[in-house]
């Protein structure tokens, strides 16, 4: 394979959905993508192991944060009497604790460093496991610049979650917002995988958007299954993040399978 073929910025490597349909006669369904993901995880257990280790890091950070003196917001799972879809575009593990921004004001410097350090450990583990998983499954070399871009986008999404204001809206507005939110999430499903292949952020967003065209319902099914399974797994006390990390590993495998299939069945790049 020529050097040009391995150029991660090459637009021709990522055909449109129409191209994908021409190159693969079988229809891309959620079930097929999930089945591919499970198969790929079984063939490459190191991806699952990496994500479980990241889940363990998340669980340990939760375990410590629950007794340290800085406030946390605790995850409310199934015992809270509700079910939600927890799907992170930039693959993440549902953690049992999060740090409200308002709690950071006025912290003593040592405790601020402690909280920031633990958050870096938790999120750093997720970034590394995600990059490793996509790189392995897409058979690409994850460069330092690609990893940094991935980490940067991961940080942006984390900041959006932390800063995004909460509003009470009416039913119609709420349904419209949820529909819009799911539409955007589905269109960005392939974003983390494309970042690992070395695409720039804008190129990865554009390609992810185009790759999802024509596969919206299938990807929505994936988002729903993975999101609900993540929520259910994270509801287990203490070990929740470790169990949820197995679901996250499946998400990585499914997204990688989608990118490969949308790419005509081959690898994103070949070493």
């Amino acid at each position: 394979m020529s050097h040009e073929d391995r150029d991660p910025t090459s637009e021709s490597r990522f055909p449109t959905a129409a191209d994908a349909r021409r190159g693969d006669e079988s229809r891309l369904t959620a079930i097929r993508l999930l089945r591919d993901g499970v198969t790929d995880l079984r063939r490459t257990p190191s991806v699952l192991l990496a994500m479980v280790l990241a889940g363990l890091a998340v669980a340990v950070v939760d375990w410590v944060r629950l007794v340290d003196p800085a406030p946390v917001t605790e995850f409310v799972g199934l015992t809270g009497g509700r079910v939600t879809i927890h799907y992170g575009v930039m693959v993440t593990v549902v953690s049992g604790t999060s740090t409200p921004l308002s709690a950071l004001a006025g912290l003593r410097p040592a405790w601020l460093a402690w909280v920031v350090g633990l958050e870096l450990l938790r999120n750093g583990a997720l970034v590394l496991a995600g990059v490793y998983g996509f790189a392995t499954l897409l058979d690409v070399d994850a460069t330092a610049s690609a990893t940094l871009r991935y980490a940067g986008v991961f940080g942006v999404f984390a900041a959006l979650r932390a800063f995004f204001p909460t509003y009470s809206v009416g039913l119609v507005a709420g349904v419209l917002f949820i529909a819009l939110f799911l539409f955007v999430v589905v269109r960005l499903v392939a974003l983390p995988a494309l970042l690992v292949t070395g695409a720039s952020v804008s190129a990865a967003v554009g390609r992810s958007w185009r790759l999802a065209a024509g596969h919206g319902w299938s990807l929505l099914g994936v988002v729903a299954v993975v999101g609900l399974a993540s929520f259910g797994a994270a509801s287990v006390p203490v070990a929740g993040p470790v169990l949820a990390s197995i679901v996250t590993a499946l998400q990585v495998a499914v997204v990688a399978a989608f990118v490969r299939r949308a790419n005509g069945g081959g690898s994103a790049t070949r070493r």
Binding site: L49, P69, A70, G106, W111, D139
Partner: protein
């Protein structure tokens, strides 16, 4: 389909090592984190002044022979409840329709917490923060009751924007609504108690220990019972049991023991004060002193045509200051703490069940009076030295800090000083 790549021995070893390092680090952190020491709060940081509930400020030097207004701030209370103010680190916290924080020196407003409460806040050390936590007990009628932890000075300023006002909210509510009938100037809900880093509070009938820094509920009582302000001595919180006895909870771990057994016919205690030598327990028309084993040292019963809560009481310098029924209404009285004998009955004192709580410092007892205002009573003989009646409604219990006395009326928060 991806090629099959089984785990290598190196990968397994690396993963095992990483997992072991994570678990070991987490376990070490959990073991070492709780070892730092909290610091006691001076001034008057909670209703009853200290964890024991003595309402005695030995280091304060408030006005004794008369008072004049140092400053006053408008404070809307709605007239229904007047929880006593609390003072810590140069800040006075007073609950009205909201909770206000003002400078103790000049009354300058510092913060306003949008919390509806009918009981006094409590100020506690916060391990992770540069300032203490001001905890406010909220009791919405239909939602879970909760404790809200606020930045002691209302937040930090970042680029001109106030941030970090609310640190946390905590609840451990169970579905029993049960509070005692004794008031500390507010409603019947007992005020939170600050014990170093921990806040003890009732969420309806559940006693809980809340970390003042993180807001984490460290433990909560399993069986709900009547909520009364806990009295804390040497790491043990005493509260009335459901059968007229006294329960003891280890403040750190929540372990419960029975300090004094009760019986179905026993009079239910309604307030407690712990001193190094004894536990003073009060009910309607009676007061008992219990020794370290929970045995009754002495008991004093007041004759009354109707039930009059004797407490909340103040304990200072070997005397107990309580409410005694008389023909002309309840009056402040002094008992000898060693045997319960009556030392004097004052000509003045509270007939207002919602506002009675004496405060003691410098040989003077400060007590809300029945009609309105507050009186300074000589601790030695019960004579009234002065009365302060600004004419804007009844007075809350007093908070004593530095050389001032702080009270809330229906319309104002006052700082009073010696003329």
């Amino acid at each position: 389909m991806v090629p099959r790549t089984p785990l290598s021995r190196r990968q397994v070893l690396a993963a095992g090592g990483s997992a072991a390092a994570l678990l070991t680090g987490g376990a070490l952190a959990r073991r070492l984190l709780p070892t730092a020491a909290g610091s006691a709060v001076a001034d008057w940081p909670m209703a009853g002044r200290d964890p024991a509930g003595t309402a005695f400020a030995p280091e304060a030097d408030p006005p004794a022979d008369g008072v004049e207004v140092r400053w006053r701030q408008p404070l809307a209370t709605g007239g229904e409840f007047r929880p006593g103010p609390v003072v810590a680190d140069g800040v006075v916290y007073a609950a009205g329709t909201d909770v206000y924080a003002v400078s103790a020196s000049d009354g300058e407003p510092l913060a306003r917490f949008d919390r509806t409460t009918d009981t006094a806040p409590a100020v506690a050390s916060a391990r992770a923060y540069r300032t203490r936590t001001a905890a406010v007990h909220e009791s919405p009628p239909f939602d879970p009751h909760r404790l809200a932890g606020h930045h002691g000075r209302g937040g930090d300023s970042v680029a001109g924007v106030r941030v970090g006002e609310t640190r946390w909210t905590a609840t451990a509510e169970r579905d029993v609504d049960s509070y005692g009938a004794v008031h500390y100037g507010g409603g019947a809900r007992p005020p939170p108690v600050a014990v170093d880093w921990t806040l003890l509070t009732f969420f309806r009938g559940t006693l809980a220990a809340v970390d003042a820094s993180s807001g984490a509920v460290r433990w909560a009582s399993e069986k709900p019972f009547t909520g009364v302000r806990p009295a804390v001595r040497e790491g043990v919180a005493y509260v009335p049991g459901p059968d007229g006895g006294v329960l003891a909870f280890d403040v750190e771990r929540g372990d419960r023991t029975r300090f004094r057994p009760g019986s179905p016919s026993a009079d239910r205690p309604s307030s407690l004060v712990a001193t190094p030598d004894r536990l003073l327990v009060t009910g309607d028309d009676w007061i008992r002193s219990l020794d370290g084993e929970g045995r009754v040292e002495w008991e004093s019963t007041f004759d009354a045509s109707g039930s009059v809560p004797v407490g909340p009481i103040a304990v200072a310098n070997g005397s107990v200051y309580a409410r005694r029924p008389t023909a002309s209404g309840p009056r402040l009285c002094s008992l000898d703490a060693t045997d319960g004998s009556v030392q004097w009955v004052s000509d003045d004192g509270s007939g207002d069940a919602d506002a009675f709580l004496p405060a003691v410092a410098d040989e003077t007892v400060y007590v809300p009076v029945a009609e309105s205002g507050i009186a300074g009573v000589d601790a030695a003989d019960g004579t009234v030295r002065w009365r302060f009646d600004p004419g804007d409604g009844g007075s809350s219990p007093a908070a004593l800090a530095g050389d001032a006395l702080y009270v809330v009326t229906d319309e104002h928060l006052y700082a009073l000083e010696e003329p």
